[in-house]
């Protein structure tokens, strides 16, 4: 049984395993919508999943525009949709 890593996304707690990315855990738990666009308010999720398209950006521990498909989860991490 591997370690459980807990983090929050928009205030809600999620659990994952070491090495999983933020987007992976959120998608696995049914959270397809990671943020909304600044002007149109349209929903955005992962698109390329490999760090190229910047569609899945979220704010992590206060730093905006982090690609959730690349950043691995860590204990107590605070993830938010919009800055």
């Amino acid at each position: 049984m591997s370690e459980v890593i807990s983090f929050t996304f928009n205030g809600e707690t999620f659990d994952g395993e070491p090495g999983q990315t933020v987007a992976a855990v959120l998608i696995k738990n049914g959270n397809r919508v990671l943020r909304s666009t600044r002007f149109g308010g349209e929903e955005r999720s992962i698109f390329c999943g490999i760090g190229i398209c910047f569609d899945c950006v979220v704010t992590i521990n206060g730093i905006s525009n982090q690609r959730s498909c690349l950043v691995e989860i860590s204990q107590g991490m605070k993830v938010e949709s919009n800055p």
Binding site: R38, F54, V57, S64, N65
Partner: protein, 380 residues
């Protein structure tokens, strides 16, 4: 399209503007490009429409008219390319005498150039580093999204009876008795008595195919793009070194800070200039230098992330003036190229000059300083 009146080679902003202006004058215009719309220098700049960086002279006259023509073009084809009269602010640390002298000189030639000090500068750019104590505000400076502009202008040309063929690389320029007959391309042959060479950095190759010559060479420039941010930069802001670099003929790398926000929230940071031929290699040292200069202007940018960097090749002639006019050897061959880093801004003005000359009607200025014939003497 059968029997166009004119063929424009190059679907960048210079070619697109020429095509629109000729179409509006009643000609049937075919635009061809070896790639897609905006696949050359048009997609590698910042969308500058500047009067602030020009010394009084023919290029400034062209820039002032061209700037107004941008807004007329927007009225003509629609507000689809983020055209914005955002204004430019040139700032100086310490000695600003050169900057003030230039501003005074420009004012005498129709440029709105307002000296701003301390508090006024702070009002214009609240996030500017306090060590910048004075500057000049140029309300006429504007910006657009040039790829959208070229695409929409070409769309308009087609809607008004013109045509566009992409992936048509010119393989031969057809000349008979020193007159243009048309071109052979990878998409077939097209015939017209008028051929506009709007191929920017590559204009020399087309001239050569027609049996003429044009001394246009590339100057490489890098630009950084930040993540979308809150509004930190309100105008186009650059340090006074930029003006000196724009006019320079030095082959070595030069960087001077140009920082501006875009409508989509990203901030563009330029601009480097160097002569390295068509070498497109990414150079991290240049990016570092640009970034550090930008943060010295706007310290708040230290905490803003960069998304990407891009580079392109600005076409320049030995005397740093654009080449606009009929070829000195081949009749019917018209060049509009060599606009260096000012091609977006100067595109509609150059198009007006070309169209007026082709139609034999008077224009807003004497185009002689831009004539390709000025190199004929040198080459002969």
């Amino acid at each position: 399209m059968k029997h166009p009146d004119a063929i424009v080679i190059g679907a960048g902003i210079v070619g697109a503007s020429c095509a629109l202006s000729l179409t509006n004058a009643g000609l049937k215009v075919l635009v061809i490009d070896r790639g897609a719309v905006s696949s050359g220098t048009t997609s590698a700049g910042e969308g500058n429409i500047l009067v602030s960086d020009k010394d009084p002279g023919p290029e400034l006259t062209l820039a002032l008219r061209s700037r107004d023509l941008w807004f007329e073009m927007q009225t003509d084809v629609g507000d689809f390319f983020e055209l914005e009269a955002k204004g430019g602010v040139v700032v100086a640390r310490g000695d600003n005498s050169e900057l003030l002298k230039l501003a005074e000189h420009q004012r005498a030639h129709g440029v709105d150039a307002r000296v701003v000090n301390g508090a006024e500068l702070r009002d214009l750019e609240p996030f500017l580093d306090p060590s910048f104590s004075s500057g000049v505000f140029y309300p006429q400076d504007a910006q657009c999204q040039p790829m959208l502009a070229a695409a929409h202008v070409i769309r308009t040309v087609v809607a008004r009876g013109g045509a566009f063929v992409s992936n048509a690389k010119v393989t031969k320029v057809l000349v008979q008795d020193k007159k243009i007959r048309g071109v052979e391309t990878t998409q077939g042959e097209f015939q017209a008595p008028i051929l506009v060479n709007a191929t920017g950095t590559w204009a020399g190759e087309i001239a050569k195919m027609a049996g003429s010559e044009l001394p246009i060479a590339p100057r490489r420039g890098f630009i950084l793009v930040t993540e979308p941010t809150k509004k930190y930069v309100f105008h186009k802001v650059y340090d006074s070194d930029y003006v000196a670099n724009v006019a320079s003929s030095d082959a070595d790398l030069q960087t001077s800070t140009v920082v501006e926000g875009t409508r989509s929230g990203t901030i563009l940071i330029g601009a480097s200039r160097e002569r390295v031929g068509f070498d497109g290699t990414m150079n991290i040292e240049i990016l570092r230098r640009l970034a550090s200069q930008a943060t010295s202007l706007f310290p708040v940018l230290r905490d803003v992330q960069l998304l990407r960097a891009y580079r392109g090749f600005r076409p320049y002639a030995p005397d740093h003036l654009p080449v606009v006019g009929e070829d000195s050897l081949v009749k019917g061959l018209w060049h509009s190229a060599g606009h260096e880093g000012a091609g977006i801004g100067l595109a509609p003005g150059s198009a007006a000059l070309i169209t007026d000359a082709i139609l034999g009607r008077p224009s807003f200025m004497d185009g002689t300083p831009f004539s390709p014939a000025r190199f004929a003497k040198v080459l002969a």
